[in-house]
Symmetry: C2
Subunit: 287 residues, 2 copies
């Protein structure tokens, strides 16, 4: 039961007049008659009483009319909703992120601008984001660069800088900046070496011939902050993460140059069709 036939049928059912309906449809009357005849054969029963000039719907015709109207409506609705995707009135974005703090602000403002778009952000290791992108479980990744892959495109966003976090009672709490030499002398609570943040600070220190000896190694930023609050030691965390904290018990001390930093970037599949939702988010992050 082709859609075209339903359109033809509805036109006749509404006009109750083949010639007028054919005009409305922009086809000739013999074509319309023929096509309705085909539809009647397909349904297996007449849809119209044809008695002379006047025609009327049969019972099957009335039933078909109801359903045909709903079919037309469904298709209109589909077109409308697909149009809404282009208008960013709705949509869905699946993001893999090596630390949600990296894009917290962007998420907030993007959501404010496009409240109809579902944001689905999962905190993942870089490799997981990588796989998610290739396997089409993710639309975008926000990771530390470089991430080398033939099939991915990388878009640098900004430099994530690290900072020292200490208790507000700590002697360095009010310092304008701190050098790595000074840092190495402090009692520290850090990530385990497999974490990227730890690797960044370790690499920066190694460049100056320094080796950090943390008093404690923890796997989450939150727990490290707790240790700082209880004065176990200082910690080294992303500046952008520290900025999101509103904890009066801690102080954020920037590093003096050379500041330990790492590029943060957006990645996505190279041959991926970038729909409007994805494009809008990329534009949002890069402009």
């Amino acid at each position: 039961m082709e859609h075209r036939l339903l359109d033809y049928f509805l036109a006749v059912a509404e006009e109750l007049h083949f010639t007028k309906a054919a005009d409305k449809l922009g086809i000739t009357q013999p074509t319309l008659s023929h096509q309705i005849r085909l539809l009647e054969h397909e349904v297996g029963t007449p849809l119209f009483h044809r008695s002379g000039k006047r025609i009327h719907l049969t019972q099957p015709g009335m039933i078909l009319m109801e359903h045909a109207r709903r079919v037309i409506h469904e298709l209109e609705q589909a077109r409308f909703e697909i149009g809404e995707l282009a208008g960013l009135k709705r949509g869905r974005l699946r993001i893999g992120c090596s630390g949600n703090h990296l894009i917290t602000q962007a998420l907030i403002s993007f959501h404010r601008q496009y409240p109809g778009i579902d944001l689905n952000v999962v905190e993942l290791a870089t490799d997981e984001t990588h796989e998610g992108l290739l396997g089409n479980q993710l639309d975008l990744g926000v990771v530390f660069l470089p991430l080398e892959d033939e099939q991915l495109v990388s878009l640098p966003l900004y430099d994530e800088e690290l900072a020292l976090i200490v208790s507000r009672h700590h002697p360095l709490a009010a310092a304008a900046s701190v050098t790595l030499d000074l840092l190495a002398a402090l009692p520290l609570v850090l990530f385990q070496p497999k974490f990227l943040v730890r690797q960044i600070i370790d690499t920066a220190c190694a460049a100056g011939g320094l080796i950090l000896k943390p008093v404690m190694e923890l796997s989450t930023m939150e727990s490290q902050i707790q240790m700082v609050v209880h004065n176990v030691g200082g910690t080294v965390l992303p500046f952008s993460y520290a900025g999101t904290l509103r904890n009066p018990d801690i102080a954020v001390v920037p590093f003096a140059e050379p500041i330990p930093r790492k590029k943060v970037g957006l990645v996505y599949r190279k041959n991926m069709y970038l729909d409007h939702t994805i494009q809008a988010f990329i534009a949002h992050l890069t402009h």
Copy 2:
């Protein structure tokens, strides 16, 4: 957005594999690829991510899938309901009737047999039934024959016979039959001359040289019965109608030959397509 394309699309969306979907559909893979491409152009956006061997639905694809499923369901439903008409599980019958008593029993038993069929019976003058049939407001008519019309088919059902109705206290109440001579001598309450029942009895009497002089003329059978009950006079009504009354205050006295009678028949349009509902009712009345 032709239905065929939606079928193709759903097959691909479910298999997520063009070759397998094409097999399932019984078409070749190039055809399927091409048709999906057409659909994508029509919608204005890709429906699948094609990245190498694996394909995935895009957001518009997901939206279309939902609606396409509903479309398919609507069409299935339409076919099902139209099938139910043929199976007499549902339907509608519009009958014009020159006196509902003529088919009361038939209506009851037909409804018992096919409870899903809506019965719409209106009591109409023969002319109104006639027009209703020609104008397709009615499917069937039950009228007194003959009803001459090029465009109508008449099917005799049975002879409607008239009978005398009198109060149970009336001297004739227990009579086995009554002649027209005797009738003419009684005080009578009858229809006005424009009513068919009156014409039948008048004609029958005229054949014997008799003329009826009713003491009262009324337009409904019910009111005539009331007059009988209150002993204003006897009345002459269809035997079948009198049979439906369960009034202990009246007595029904058949006429002796020649019994005033009139053929009752079924009429419908000659070139009308007789759907299953109508056929079933005709069969019900004539077998």
